[in-house]
């Protein structure tokens, strides 16, 4: 069964450092997403991406965050200058079509980011 692959599975970084989380979505999917889950809290939407541009973003997704599809297979989330509160599990997801409600997202296993 096709799956979404995320690397690294766990990253520890110092506050103020840049972090890049990588994702390989399912090959025929066109829409890509990042969600995050702070320990003990809800899974929260960060951003959706289609046709090489952001289609929607949440208020969490401020200027410290950026996304990119640098080639035909990878989808990355960059945090420019990490803060302690960025510590969370970050989930990548992809879908065949735009999520006009009636679509299914396939999630990766997550990348746990710990900011010290």
């Amino acid at each position: 069964e096709p799956e979404v692959t995320q690397t690294p599975s766990h990253q520890v970084t110092q506050m103020g450092q840049e972090v890049i989380l990588r994702c390989v979505p399912i090959s025929n999917h066109l829409y890509f997403y990042w969600y995050r889950q702070i320990l003990g809290q809800k899974v929260e939407f960060l951003v959706s991406f289609y046709n090489n541009e952001i289609s929607e973003k949440s208020e969490i997704f401020d200027d410290q965050f950026s996304v990119e599809r640098p080639d035909g297979s990878n989808f990355t989330l960059k945090i420019r200058s990490t803060k302690l509160e960025d510590s969370a599990m970050y989930f990548c997801a992809s879908s065949e079509e735009g999520f006009a409600g009636a679509n299914v997202l396939t999630f990766g296993a997550g990348s746990r980011l710990t900011v010290l």
């Binding site: 997403y33 809800k42 899974v43 929607e56 999520f99 409600g101 299914v104």
Partner: protein
Amino acid sequence: AQSVTQPDIHITVSEGASLELRCNYSYGATPYLFWYVQSPGQGLQLLLKYFSGDTLVQGIKGFEAEFKRSQSSFNLRKPSVHWSDAAEYFCAVGATDYKLSFGAGTTVTVRA
């Protein structure tokens, strides 16, 4: 904006017993509803979804859920729980935009 409430943070159930996880949603129109499961070290796996039609939805691993519009609920059920069902379960609601709104999750512990 849509939102989801999962009233139970943690449920413990005996193996072989039935399981019901509660989910209430808030959304002004017909929602798109999902249940995901997360086992330790795993990603979010889709158990089942409701888009329209029959309000009783069958999913994988023997799970089912019933959409009740009058109660704004989408409760998940399994008649007989297996030890491998120990995991965290998330209810989510989608609308006509690009995001899912998740509940806080319910952790299920299965005792022998």
